[in-house]
């Protein structure tokens, strides 16, 4: 009896010392080895009287487990210590740069086209496209701008043949004509794309982007036009209020026609949309001219509606504070990096238009 206790105390004492793994193994074999003290104690079990045997066995097992546990714990402690001391030598400077990050960019024009598409998608418009090369019929004549009309002079046109039949489209309006010719009303489309005019200075580029809008149905009037543009401009500039002014103007393919200005003010030389008493022209619009509808075989007594054309580059400049139109097309890596958007930043109506 007391032997077991003695063993227990002796070894617990031993194990409380600061030990290395070898000394623990030594202790282990002293206890549980072939001739170990615990092993030996089990050997005498058989020689004990039956009435003591049970108690002895139980006490011995208890001590055995206690010591075993103590040893395991001790070993674990040492292992943890060893790993910890090893880790100290494995320290790296985590302030060193990470592995290379490649981050591409989406051009502001593309981003803004996606923003515009997202806004108009919300009110049921679909996207149509048309060719960059047009013939003069689709670009002018079908749009109520016959050859002898001075309005043709409003567009400096790039021609591809001497007869002036083939040209680079000067606006996205020919997409209206193409869309209406191949389908049946109602129509509710926007048509973003490249447009071209042989005009080049600080504020004009020979290529720029427009988005055309067209809504034709049985009773679409100027109130709807105003409502649509009001909704669009507010959504695009992400403001609650907008100051908008319709100025009568003239386009051969719409009547009545208007140019639309939005109110702004300069705060710290940055343009703030929606306030102030300055006006900025941002788009042209109007009710589609009956002649245009007739040209695409639609009865203007039955159907009517509005069309508009917005300069995309101009919108991008206003929204994102870009000063120079020409820079859009000059592929300066620094500019693309500065004004470009992350490819995962996809404008959408549920996630928000812009970050």
């Amino acid at each position: 009896m007391s032997d077991i206790k003695k063993i227990k105390n002796e070894f617990l004492h031993k194990l409380n010392a600061d030990l290395d793994i070898e000394s623990i193994n030594q202790i282990k074999s002293e206890l549980f080895g072939k001739k170990g003290k615990i092993s030996n104690s089990f050997k005498i079990l058989g020689s004990l009287p039956t009435e003591e045997r049970k108690k002895f066995a139980s006490d011995l097992n208890f001590v055995k487990n206690e010591l075993q546990e103590k040893i395991n714990k001790k070993i674990q402690e040492i292992e943890v210590k060893e790993i910890n001391s090893k880790l100290e030598n494995e320290k790296v400077d985590v302030t060193l740069p990470e592995r290379n990050i490649v981050q591409g960019k989406i051009h502001p024009v593309s981003q803004v086209i996606d923003e515009i598409s997202s806004i108009f998608s919300e009110i049921g418009f679909s996207v149509e496209e048309g060719p960059d090369i047009e013939n003069e019929h689709y670009n002018f004549t079908a749009l109520n701008t016959p050859d002898n009309h001075p309005a043709r002079d409003m567009h400096d046109t790039f021609y591809l043949d001497d007869k002036k039949e083939l040209l680079l489209r000067t606006h996205t309006s020919p997409v209206q004509v193409r869309t209406m010719l191949k389908g049946k009303p109602p129509f509710k489309i926007i048509a973003p794309g490249r447009t071209y005019r042989s005009d080049s200075d600080q504020t004009h580029a020979p290529m720029f982007h427009q988005v055309e809008g067209l809504h034709i149905d049985k009773n679409i009037n100027m109130g709807h036009l105003k409502g649509c543009l009001n909704y669009f401009i507010k959504s695009f500039f992400e403001v609650d209020k907008i100051k908008m002014r319709f100025r009568p103007s003239h386009f051969p393919f719409t009547e009545p026609s208007a140019e639309v200005d939005i109110g702004y003010e300069l705060k710290d030389s940055k343009i703030v949309i929606g306030e102030g008493d300055k006006w900025l022209e941002i788009l042209g619009c109007g009710m589609v001219h009956p002649n245009v509808l007739k040209n695409v075989k639609i009865n203007p007594d039955k159907y009517q509606g509005y069309a508009f054309g917005i300069g995309i580059d101009r919108l991008a400049m206003l929204k994102y504070g870009i000063n120079d139109l020409r820079a859009f097309f000059e592929t300066d890596y620094r500019w693309l990096n500065h004004f470009g958007f992350d490819p995962l930043d996809v404008p959408s109506n549920y996630r928000g238009l812009s970050r």
Binding site: D162, K164, P256
Partner: protein, 802 residues
């Protein structure tokens, strides 16, 4: 279209303030571009203060003055005046000023070796007094706080500059603008003062309009004014002309210009002594020439409308007069022309001859055919008054009558289009004020269109008139209607947007470049496409439409390399052109990558970009868009601008004819030709049009999810094959041996060199074998191993490497 408020008020009774008039003009569609004073030569004379005076080093009598002219820096002026002294307030004239006394124009000049910027002026030079020594001395009490301000007050009136849309020729005259303002409630239009002129005798020069085919002139009115004294215009007229930024010429010319600007009635004055017998209005014959008032000689084609006499062409009707019959200061007798020319004829002729004049601008938009007499009357009156002379009767020849156009207008159309109501009474008032004759029949108006409004031909034009005069602010904002007719994007557009962002996500910067390019660079990339020249390019290095996106990309890559960027990834998605008919274009992604991977990286080895970087980006983009790698097929074929040995093409399917993509290193010759300086340059192109409709919707294309939990086994093989044997074929041979067992084939080494024959290479592969029915036993694996070896050997001529 320019005029002053004062001039406007000659036609308009109004109590409106200037800024209210300006606002109203814009509101009714006559856009005000500016409203400001025309700058005057006298604006150059500033109040100035002498800050310091030094002796001129090379001249006893000259001084160098430091002068404060109200700007950030003072200017140095050399001055000989004895009274120039420190602190003096005087008048400074900058370079470019014209001295009133002697009309001398100042320049920056060196006076005895010292540069003088402008001049300090004496009262004599400024026409302020007749004499006196030295420069003007200004009283400091009055002028101490005026340094930098204009010395002379600008007395010219502010000028309104309107941008008139092409449909409104009537507003190219002040009276037309006044009429519109009156209709919009700004005031009342004054009647034209039709002062009677003393008429003496008939117009003796015979005028005839020949009835040629497509005769461009239908009415020709004229009168003779005899014994005039042409001279400088009186001050009021000169001021009017100057206020518009034009130069007065002579009374007769200024008067005709004045009447044109006032009534939008172009006139022409001939020296009648230079007319050979009679006036004949006819079509020109090819080869006829004449010298115009712009001193150019024009060679005419057939059928241009000319005013001629017995000796030949005098002028192009409605466009420009001729030198031969022009008026001069010594002109004694004049013939005044007031005619009507058809817009189409004017436009055609002026386009062909490339002439742009104020008269042409007006006639091509449409002049009031009924303004012939009014114009003659007003001009003749003024000429008689200013230059004297006797005015003949007016002679009016015409070959067709002026039609009074009428239209019927249903008042309900207004609300249908504009979306708001307006009282019938108000509609009628607006139309009458605009010059319409109105008769009402129930809900319909019968309107006689004023002859000065050639733009109005149908009911919608009337709607526009009413809505613009009533004001666009009356249109109420209706909530957008959300109903949808079609999906926002079609499949092709979705693909466009997806691929665009997919490529960008691989580290490429998206750019947008012109659709045109330099033919010299384009030639390097155009392959078999037609060169499409632009007839009127903005510059000779942007002379063709692009046949490839690479021409602009490489051009701008070079620019960025020159900015000292090295590792550049650029792409553009947009059109390239196959030929010049509408629709003969393709939508293409072009991407290029230069320099190195992991340049200046502390933990990764750097290496130049290579063909497999381009291939990876191209293939990954296709995979992300939903195309199956298993089906993609690579061929060596690629356009000539790629490196012939390090490039290839990608097909969606082995049997496809059109590749959907190319990838590779750019041909070294091209890099040299464009003079691109980089370690390596690779690129890829994806043709969206060939990707079209290859794809099922995801919901229809997902197969059943099947997998096996039985044990996988990997086996490695190394085959020695012919050097030009394709890895793709080897993988294909092995994969197709038993698709139910062979799950993947991976190439992990390609080796040429020692121990391998010169014309051979060794390809090492790892094959994963797994059954979906059982755990394979050693014997099963052995069987498939043998089958792989034997099949590869027989089908490819390869030998397993022992």
């Amino acid at each position: 279209m320019k005029f002053t408020i004062g001039w406007l008020k000659e036609h308009l009774h109004t109590k409106f303030k200037d800024n209210q008039i300006i606002q109203k003009l814009t509101d009714i569609g006559l856009e005000v571009e500016s409203f400001e004073k025309v700058s005057s030569d006298l604006d150059n004379f500033k109040v100035a203060k002498i800050i310091n005076v030094e002796q001129h080093p090379n001249a006893d009598k000259l001084k160098i003055c430091d002068v404060d002219i109200g700007e950030q820096n003072t200017v140095k002026v050399v001055c000989g005046a004895p009274n120039a002294k420190k602190g003096l307030l005087t008048v400074y004239a900058g370079p470019g000023s014209v001295i009133p006394k002697n009309n001398m124009k100042l320049t920056v000049s060196k006076i005895r070796g010292v540069t003088s910027y402008g001049m300090l002026c004496s009262e004599l030079e400024l026409n302020l007094s007749d004499g006196g020594d030295g420069i003007t001395e200004l009283k400091s009490k009055k002028y101490f706080d005026k340094v930098g301000k204009n010395f002379f007050k600008n007395n010219t009136e502010k000028v309104i500059d309107l941008s008139i849309t092409p449909n409104r020729p009537d507003c190219l005259g002040v009276r037309g603008v006044a009429r519109d303002l009156a209709a919009a409630g700004v005031g009342k239009l004054k009647n034209i003062s039709n002062m009677k002129i003393k008429i003496s005798g008939p117009q003796k020069i015979k005028v005839s309009i020949i009835k040629d085919k497509n005769q461009g002139c239908t009415i020709f009115g004229s009168c003779l004014i005899k014994d005039v004294t042409n001279k400088e215009s009186p001050k009021w007229l000169k001021d009017k002309i100057i206020s518009l930024g034009q130069k007065p010429i002579s009374a007769i010319v200024d008067i005709t210009n004045y009447v044109m600007l006032d009534l939008n009635r172009p006139l022409h004055a001939y020296d009648s002594d230079k007319i050979d017998k009679e006036i004949i209005v006819r079509n020109s014959e090819k080869g006829e020439t004449f010298e115009a008032l712009d001193n150019k000689v024009y060679k005419l084609d057939n059928d241009m409308c000319v005013i001629s006499d017995k000796s030949g062409v005098l002028g192009l009707g409605g466009i420009i007069g001729g030198k031969r019959s022009g008026t001069e200061f010594n002109t004694k007798n004049i013939l005044l022309e007031s005619a009507y020319f058809l817009p189409r004829s004017i436009r055609k002729t002026s386009k062909l001859l490339n002439i742009d004049t104020d008269a042409k601008f007006r006639f091509e938009r449409g002049i009031d055919p009924q303004s012939i007499q009014i114009g003659l009357n007003k001009a003749a009156q003024l000429i008689a008054k200013i230059c004297g002379g006797k005015v003949s009767k007016f002679d009016v020849q015409s070959i067709s009558n002026v039609k009074k156009n009428k239209i019927k207008f249903k008042i309900s159309l207004f609300e249908k289009i504009a979306g708001f109501k307006i009282k019938n009474k108000e509609v009628i008032k607006i139309l009458i004020d605009l010059g319409f004759k109105v008769s009402k029949k129930k809900s319909e108006l019968e309107l006689t269109i004023p002859t000065w409004r050639p733009d109005i031909t149908q009911p919608i034009d009337i709607v526009e008139e009413i809505v613009r005069i009533k004001g666009f602010n009356n249109i109420e904002i209706l909530e957008p209607q959300k109903y949808r007719i079609k999906d926002t994007l079609n499949e092709q557009q979705k693909l466009f947007h997806f691929l665009q962002r997919s490529v960008a996500s691989k580290g490429y910067f998206e750019t947008v470049t012109w659709s045109f390019t330099d033919s010299k660079i384009n030639n390097l990339f155009k392959e078999n496409y037609k060169e499409i020249k632009i007839v009127n390019p903005i510059s000779s290095d942007l002379d063709v439409l692009r046949n490839s996106i690479f021409s602009n990309l490489t051009f701008y890559l070079k620019k960025n390399l020159d900015r000292d960027f090295k590792d550049i990834s650029l792409f553009e998605i947009g059109p390239i052109f196959k030929d010049k008919k509408p629709g003969e274009q393709l939508t293409v992604i072009g991407a290029i990558k230069s320099g190195k991977i992991s340049r200046l990286n502390w933990n990764e080895e750097n290496r130049p970009v290579d063909v497999f970087d381009a291939k990876k980006d191209a293939i990954q983009t296709l995979l992300e868009a939903g195309y199956d790698r298993q089906n993609l097929f690579i061929r060596e074929k690629s356009p000539s601008y790629y490196h012939p040995g390090k490039s290839g093409s990608v097909y969606l399917d082995k049997d496809d004819i059109d590749p959907v993509a190319y990838f590779g290193e750019i041909h070294p010759n091209i890099i040299k030709k464009i003079d691109i300086n980089t370690e390596a340059l690779v690129g890829f192109e994806i043709y969206l049009d060939y990707l079209k409709d290859k794809k099922l919707k995801l919901k229809d294309s997902k197969s059943k999810f099947q997998f096996s939990d039985y044990q996988k086994s990997d086996r490695d093989f190394a085959f020695v094959v012919d050097k030009n044997f394709k890895a793709q074929d080897l993988i294909e041979i092995i994969s197709s041996i038993d698709q139910s067992l062979i799950k993947s084939v991976k190439i992990f080494d390609v080796y040429e060199g020692e121990n391998i024959p010169k014309d051979k290479k060794s390809i090492a592969l790892n094959v994963t074998i797994q059954s979906s029915e059982k755990t394979l036993e050693e014997s099963d694996l052995e069987k498939i191993n043998k089958l792989i070896v034997s099949t590869v050997e027989t089908r490819s001529g390869a030998k397993i490497r022992s």
